[in-house]
């Protein structure tokens, strides 16, 4: 067994692009045999329900549980006071950057700060009586002024957290030179107010948790819908003040997460643990979809006042940006704003820079790392501005980007130019431009403007502006910021790593234990593929195990597009260590030189004649006096990268109704080595359509009292099959040297580049009807398009 902390190995293997027909996980998922947390049932399980505040900001005067007592189904109740009494620590906030801490409680103590915040929890015997009994809890509130917008929050008249002296959660500045003095004389200057409204991850499976307290061992067996069982174990441990070893956290199949089941610590698992210990019963909680909308971490809600200046050759001279983010009652960390800035600054050469980002707290649910975690916003802010500028100068949007890419001699920049070139050559770019011009020439000819108008938009995602890219991270950072960043480095670095353990038994069966946690991304298959390749074992002899803190002592989890690269690399690394260890031991047993041996098909073979099996695995292990052999890797990438990509979107716009139809979508991407092309393509399809929803339909809307108006799948509109385009994908690139398995993370890149492509296309269409008409805040709903054309501000909420 061996452990490694850092590894930087050049990818010497030949590029293998494997494609399995179907995944290993498919048969059970297709036959209804998936094991999602709500599918699990324990004998005598009790059901937990949450009493939630109907007010966005209020003091709690009184909680009356008395009506519950008369029901035979009622078992127990908890309030915030109980938690204080039991000494439960506040909700975990991962200290990522220098932000303020909210120190919230799992059940509101004295004050509620968002509509839907948990105020009490009850435990009942029968599922059918749960909502009946929740309704029996009476709470008296004294309402307080509500802060529902960044504007309100900025004023500071009402503080969300009384021990803060303002409503600012986090501030970030970047400066390089004197941007203002470069902007003033510049021949080309554009200004825009860009933004993406508050949006929801909305995985199809609502959150769920099932806790069984095992009294004898003092252990909590916790099944939960989480993207990292290790994160949840850490949260439970620190909040309940019980050692991590006392929690066995597990997840099997999960119905999507998209970040909302990732970094945030939710109250329900903690409450379920408390109930289970108190009553000795298994405790089940499953969110309704309404509860998901009210409470699950939201994303986006970032706005940018951007000024971009270019010289007469179309080269950027300066960028000024003021970014504001609404973090609700505050989330896990300020990571999103940090990532937004990184992705704004990493692709193009920006000689002078003046950027400030502020995150404000409001009376809304917390935010979290929702698909892209701040990076879609950053890409959108810069890519939208690039398009506005290209139009102003009269340059082709692709050419304008090409000439401004930073570090033109670097291989990364070559890669970006290659993506743009491929988009033009193989992505039907010129054909689409012609189609668009043909359609536009009909404007005014058809009666009533009934003719549809066409628009084309592109976006460039510079993945090497990744969160670990020095250029973007340190762009314009102050000394103080640099010091803070260096302090945070270990935590950032840990995100580039993952635990992997590979075990082989006497029958030659291989078990891959990973800290990754697949919920649709296909790691069960992809990792089996990797181990199968490394060990020369047929894939049906490889079983991937995840989501179990008992069997997998350490791990990070699946989020941030990291599992393919980090998790996959740790599998490759552990497999190689296992193989190397086996060969070493076999060479001693056989008295042969190591170099003459290899391991293939369940046995030690002659390296030069692999069909010549010298000794089978079963015999080797017998001779070693053991039933299995393992190797562990805690692989860590020095500088993980996201994939880079160029997207193209073509839309038609009905100018009278403001409705948009996406008629073509092309992705050219480079994710380094592709482990499984079908899976990669699937991730891109989903990521793009996620951005389509965010660009056309999705917004969490509030009234002026902070009530969420879009709390159902009817009112919050994610794309259906009718709304979604076909997505064509072209792959470029070569294996990435910075990851052992040559992979660059790509699960979120469809979304990261998608918003800009769609919004640029819509605005291209608008510009042909009315130059100057722009919609720069997503979603570009029909009424906002109408308002842009009519030059009014949209009146809808």
């Amino acid at each position: 067994m061996s452990v490694v902390v850092e590894q930087e190995v050049s990818v010497a293997q030949e590029e293998k692009v494997s494609e399995l027909k179907g995944r290993l996980e498919d048969p059970r998922l297709l036959t209804g045999k998936g094991r999602y947390v709500d599918d699990l049932k324990m004998e005598d399980q009790a059901y937990m329900g949450i009493v939630r505040s109907p007010f966005a900001h209020a003091r709690i005067k009184r909680i009356d549980l008395s009506k519950l007592q008369s029901s035979p189904d009622f078992i127990a109740a908890l309030t915030g006071e109980d938690l204080l009494r039991e000494g439960v620590a506040t909700v975990t906030e991962l200290p990522m950057l220098a932000h303020k801490f909210a120190n919230r409680h799992q059940l509101a103590v004295s004050k509620v700060r968002f509509a839907g915040e948990p105020v009490a929890a009850i435990l009942v015997r029968r599922k059918n009586s749960l909502e009946d009994l929740v309704e029996q809890v009476e709470v008296d509130y004294e309402t307080l002024p509500v802060v529902t917008s960044i504007e309100e929050s900025k004023k500071g008249g009402t503080l969300i957290y009384e021990d803060w002296n303002d409503n600012i959660f986090y501030t970030l500045s970047r400066k390089r030179g004197d941007a203002e003095s470069a902007i003033a004389p510049a021949p080309h200057v554009i200004r825009a107010r860009e933004g993406i409204r508050r949006q929801e991850a909305a995985p199809m499976e609502p959150r769920s948790v099932l806790v069984t307290y095992k009294r004898e061992e003092g252990l909590y067996e916790v099944y939960a819908t989480v993207q990292s069982v290790h994160f949840l174990r850490q949260y439970l441990s620190s909040e309940l003040k019980i050692p991590e070893a006392k929690f066995h956290v597990k997840v099997m199949d999960m119905g999507g997460g998209f970040g909302s089941k990732g970094g945030n610590s939710y109250p329900e698992p903690v409450l379920a643990c408390l109930f289970s210990k108190r009553t000795g019963l298994p405790v089940k909680w499953t969110a309704t979809r309404t509860e998901e909308f009210l409470e699950a971490a939201a994303g986006r809600d970032e706005y940018c006042d951007i000024t971009l200046a270019c010289d007469k050759n179309g080269m950027i001279v300066a960028l000024k940006a003021r970014i504001e983010c609404d973090v609700g009652v505050s989330g896990t960390s300020a990571f999103m704003a940090f990532a937004t800035v990184g992705f704004m600054l990493g692709t193009y050469e920006i000689p002078k820079l003046d950027l400030k980002a502020q995150c404000y707290v409001t009376n809304k649910m917390t935010v979290g790392p929702i698909r892209g975690a701040g990076r879609p916003e950053g890409v959108y802010f810069i890519e939208r501005a690039m398009d506005i500028m290209a139009k102003k100068i009269g340059l082709d949007p692709i050419e304008f980007r090409r000439r401004n890419i930073a570090d033109p001699q670097s291989p990364e920049s070559e890669g970006y130019r290659d993506l743009l070139d491929t988009l033009v050559k193989s992505g039907h770019y010129e054909e689409i431009q012609r189609w668009r011009d043909d359609l536009s020439s009909d404007i005014g000819k058809e009666k009533d403007g009934r003719a549809l108008v066409a628009g084309v938009g592109i976006s460039l995602l510079g993945g090497d502006a990744g969160i670990f890219s020095i250029r973007s991270m340190l762009a314009g950072m102050s000394l103080r910021g640099l010091v803070g960043f260096i302090r945070m480095l270990p935590r950032f670095r840990s995100f580039g790593g993952e635990y992997g353990r590979v075990t082989m038994n006497k029958s030659g069966e291989v078990y891959v234990y990973t800290g990754s946690s697949p919920h649709g991304q296909g790691h069960e298959t992809a990792f089996a593929q990797l181990a199968s390749e490394e060990l020369g074992v047929p894939i049906d002899k490889v079983k991937v195990v995840w989501g179990d803190t008992e069997q997998i002592p350490h791990g990070v989890g699946t989020f941030g597009s990291r599992s393919g690269a980090a998790g996959g690399s740790s599998v490759v690394d552990a497999s190689r260590r296992l193989k190397s260890d086996l060969i070493k031991k076999a060479s001693k047993i056989l008295g042969r030189d190591r170099g003459s041996l290899d391991f293939r098909n369940g046995g030690i073979v002659e390296a030069k004649h692999p069909e010549n099996v010298l000794v089978e695995i079963g015999d080797i292990l017998d001779r070693l006096g053991t039933t299995e052999i393992s190797a562990i890797s805690i692989y860590s990438q020095r500088s993980p990268r996201d994939a880079s990509a160029a997207h193209l979107c073509a839309v038609t716009l009905d100018p009278e109704l403001g409705t948009i139809k996406i008629v073509k979508y092309v992705v050219v991407e480079d994710c380094g080595r592709i482990i499984n092309k079908t899976i990669v393509d699937g991730q891109l399809h989903g990521g793009v359509v996620h951005a389509v929803g965010g660009s056309l339909f999705e917004k969490l809307a509030y009234d002026d009292q902070g009530n969420l108006l879009t709390a159902t799948m009817m009112d919050y509109n994610i794309p259906t099959a009718q709304d979604s385009p076909d997505v064509e994908i072209l792959h470029r690139g070569t294996p990435f040297a910075g990851a052992l398995n040559g992979v660059k993370g790509m699960g979120e890149t469809g979304t990261m580049a998608g918003y800009a492509a769609v919004m640029n296309a819509i605005n291209d269409a608008l510009s042909q009807i009315q130059p100057g008409a722009q919609v720069n805040v997503a979603p570009a709903t029909p009424d906002s398009i109408f308002a842009a054309l009519a030059n009014h501000t949209s009146q809808s909420t």
Binding site: G32, K33, Y36, K127, M254, G256
Partner: protein
């Protein structure tokens, strides 16, 4: 009622939804609950030959009905052609919306054995998916339709 060609019966409160009867009383957990308002389609089953959302039907209303759920598609270890088509064309990722989608697709193809892409997209608009972007779902259903057409031709020969 008959579910997947087997007789089942039970006694439930009138307010018990069919989806909860299937999941909680009968342990047929393949049919999933994804929302509160009958919009996501994850709970779709085939009832008396038609695709319906089992969260929008009371269990008592289904008394006497003939129901097909995802558990009734495969024949022991042999996947139903529609499941095979989804498997071969990567029509699923996290799998949560998949059972409902399979049942909608089945009902769609029975009604319309030669659907166009537009027919397919309209036919499954009541099934929300957040993972796949529907690209491979549409591909899977088309593949299933083509495979069925091919089988019919072979039978007819």
């Amino acid at each position: 009622m008959r579910i997947n060609h087997k007789e089942y019966s039970g006694e439930v409160e009138p307010r018990t939804l069919l989806v909860y009867f299937l999941r909680d009383e009968l342990n047929l957990t393949g049919t999933h609950v994804g929302c509160d308002t009958g919009h996501c389609g994850a709970c779709t089953v085939v009832l008396d030959g038609k695709a319906v959302k089992s969260c929008m039907v009371l269990a008592v209303q289904a008394s006497g009905a003939e129901i097909l759920t995802v558990e009734g598609l495969a024949d022991d270890d042999r996947l139903h052609p529609i499941q095979e088509a989804f498997r071969e064309n990567h029509g699923l990722q996290c799998g949560f919306c998949t059972p409902g989608l399979l049942m909608s697709s089945l009902a769609l193809l029975r009604e319309n054995p030669h659907p166009t892409e537009a027919d397919i997209r309209r036919g499954i608009e009541g099934n929300l998916c957040r993972c796949t972007g529907y690209v491979n779902v549409v591909k899977s259903i088309r593949a299933a339709a083509e495979a069925a057409a091919k089988r019919r031709m072979e039978v007819e020969r």
